[in-house]
Amino acid sequence: MTTAIALRDVVKSFNGFRAVDSITLDIPAGGIFGLLGPNGAGKSTTIRMIMDIIRPDSGTIRVLGASSHADVRSRVGYLPEERGLYKKMKVLDMLEFLGTLTGSSPRDARTESRSWLERLEIGDWASKKVEELSKGMQQKIQFAAAVLGRPKVLILDEPFSGMDPVNQNLFKDAMLEISREGTTIVFSTHQMETAERLCKELALIDKGKLVLSGPLAKVKEGFGKNSLLLEYEGDGAFLGRLSGVARVDEYGSYSEVRLEAGADPQAILRSVGERLRVRRFEIVAPTLHNIFMEKVGATAAPVLERVGDA
């Protein structure tokens, strides 16, 4: 597998604060890569450095093998965390302009913009000013702006934030389609559920440091099949007090239970069966959410774990 983006010992500080602290990471070509981490972990800073919008204090970043970003800029699509459009411009004119910046001629960019507007179901709004559009429509346009010019690498910073489920679904489908066409997609998020469903490979960063990285399946494998999914009727508040339970995520009539090493799931099942009416009991690998909580929730210095081989 070839590498689309390679970071080596990348460091970036702002006024003495280490936003990105010596990150080394290979993002494989093809597929969808999730850059995960809590707010303020350094995701956007890392992405901005990949985009050459800010430069690292030290370390190197290669995108598509090029050492100078200028050579690949037109082949990288970007959706920044801070969304922004030319509010006074007409939708199609603005997309045409943004499209030309990927190296297309105005005519080609216009054709491509039009087809994206159709695909995102806002073709009728092409000659309206951007400011006249609803927030959801502006999100679609922002997305179209990022994917114009058939980029080889598409970087999406928090693509689903503030989006309704309909748009989320639309974009998810678009992302999968683009990915199938051979584009490497990197997206950042702090929503683990989305990441779990979309990424093939991921990296988790916290406080500027890489906590873990690797293919999703192997990351989960590394944590073992030591979690329980429980669905029940009754009050599950006692679950956390059972012996052998490390931590519990309770959702009323549904809980995700992480076991301590060596704990016996059958013993847990017996105790639970005495008190609750169990509808579902499943031994599973931990969800990404649980892994995230375990890794990031811990205050101890993060330990770098490289799980599996890319």
Partner: protein
Amino acid sequence: MHNILMIVRREYLERVTKKSFWLGTAVFPLVMVVFAFVPMFLVGLGGNERKSIALVDGTGKLAAHLTRELAGEKLQNGQARYAIESVPIAGSIEATRASLEERVRNKTLYGILSVDADIRTKDAFQFYGRTVGDVKSIEEFQSALRRAVVALRFENANIAVDKNVVAGLLAPVDMQTNEVSSRGGSTKKGFTEAYLGTFMFVMILFMTLLLYGIATMRGILEEKSSRVMEVLLGSVSPGELMTGKIFGIGLVGLTQVAIYAATAGAVRIYLGAQGSSQTAGILSSFTPGKMTFFLVYFLLGYFMFTALFACIGAVCNSEQEAQNLQTPVTMCLMLPMAATIFFVGQPDSTISVIASLVPIFTPMVMFMRICVETPPAWQIALSIALSIGAIWLILRGAAKVFRIGILMYGKPPTIPEILRWAQG
């Protein structure tokens, strides 16, 4: 290069297709014309009514001479412009004059001229008017008085000279000023023409530089506040973005200047066909040579100031914030304009020469000097060379400041900080 062209294209089309551009383009010359012509028109208006002037004459002999000398000044309907009313002295000259003041106040008299019995003293002639700002009338009246008094002096000295001889002897001596161009030849030119012609050019230069500098700054501020900046930076480098903006908006500026030049040229040809008038005199400043220099210094000034304004836009988040940083830059434009009268009057003084070679002042000052005289070729060449050097430095520094400032939200940096970024 493709990206820069595309940015130029957007900046140009977005601006030139706006109504406000054409409105602004049309309004500016209109304002200039109003400023230039309305005062002249108003002065002309006041001159078309009969003016009665009371004469309190200590000599008793001036009235006839004065009436004769004023006879030449006619209103448009052919009547005499000035009516002299001799008022017999009751008591003293001063008392008589004082008694007439009421009539000046109620406007039945334009003014009072009191003349001492001894016309050789310094303060012998006193004019009392409701207004002393009517320069044209007062000048006319004064010159008639001067001729009348000279005639009276001849009479008092018992020199009997033929009236025509006196007229010949007293024929006014007006000195016509001419400008010797160093390229050979000379043109008839007065200070007013030189000043007005230059000032008009300088005004256009000042307005366009300021206008487009601020337009650039505002464009960048808008892209920052609408957060579209980062979307752009995903596709273009900050350097490309800045270059594209400066050239795109510059092209809009050139379009406007071209419209003005074409208009001025057309007006000049039209007025030329109408026969020469004072306005044609001012418009005669629009020679191809001067236009070329205007273009050169416009471009030099444009790159210098727009780069500076672009930096200000990059490091600020709102126009209010930008105000503080804008002041020193605007001052660099304002100062030479405020001193136009000095540079036009003393184009060769050491201060003028030095100021015209300091890059930040060059576009304005060197251009003024070129308008009124022809500075040595080496000075023109040196000023252009120094400016180009300065522009190169400014653009290089600006690109660095731009790169850092463009993604900065929060408190704008201080000037020393900006300078540090520019060097780094």
